[in-house]
Amino acid sequence: MGLVATGDPRALETLCSRYERGLHQFLWRQLGGRDVEDVYQETWLRVVRAAARFDRRRRFSTWLFQIAVNLCHDWHRRPPPEPRDPATLDHGADDPTARQGDALDAARLLAALPEPQRAAVLLRYYHDLPEDEVAEILGCPRGTVKSRLHHAMTTLKALAARNA
């Protein structure tokens, strides 16, 4: 990370290749597949911009996901896009969540969770991060993470039961 702060492109490329998959998966799931590449790119640009301020005692992955979570938060607060002309809509063609069967149900269930709960679930269960690290990424106490996970599970069970 220190090398990125001195402008070394190879250092950035190494970091990108190391975290590409994990970060992309997190953003995809958190954003429901929309604007993933833009947010992904902006995450790395923020990393480069703030490289000199990075505290080397911290884990890089924690910092990276913290930036990603903040960007997702900003993304969710944006006003919804202008409605398109229904005549030009190609239903399902560019909507990544418009998949069939279980995958669609799972995506809908996940999308139904409030953003903080969704982030907690993704980081804890789909990125296998310990609760302490999830708490650091989300900027909240460990107890809050536990409660978010509990509420998320309750919501998911209720939604699954309703769908069934």
Partner: protein
């Protein structure tokens, strides 16, 4: 039912990132990285310059004292005009040497900074 959301959500498969995603990031980050290089070079350049400038007042003070003492000594044994000429010659020489030395500091510091940065990025 267990308390693991994966039992309800499954594996939440995600398509792999597009092949050119990393290249896009690198292209977008290039100007920021270039700015970091400029900042790092400037930092490495300013440090030796600051270190070189710190003893300058002392060097000037020592030289002024030497020139005065030399003039006082010479004026007791030589005519005033000759003493002034010799001391002025000496003072000019010292001034020229100091000027050259300090003028070379930025160039040497810049070269050293670039070499250090290249080594770091190698």
């Amino acid at each position: 039912m267990s308390d693991d959301p994966r039992d309800l959500l499954g594996s939440l498969d995600v398509p792999p990132p597009s092949a050119d995603l990393r290249a896009k990031v690198m292209t977008a980050a290039a100007p920021l990285l270039a700015a970091h290089v400029r900042r790092a070079t400037a930092r490495a350049w300013l440090r030796p310059l600051a270190v070189a400038l710190v003893p300058l007042p002392l060097i000037v003070l020592v030289n002024v004292t030497v020139v005065r003492a030399l003039y006082g000594l010479l004026s007791t044994i030589l005519p005033d005009v000759v003493s002034t000429y010799l001391v002025a010659q000496y003072a000019l020489l010292v001034l020229a040497l100091l000027g050259l030395t300090y003028a070379s500091v930025p160039f040497l510091a810049d070269r050293q900074a670039r070499a250090a940065l290249e080594n770091l990025h190698a």
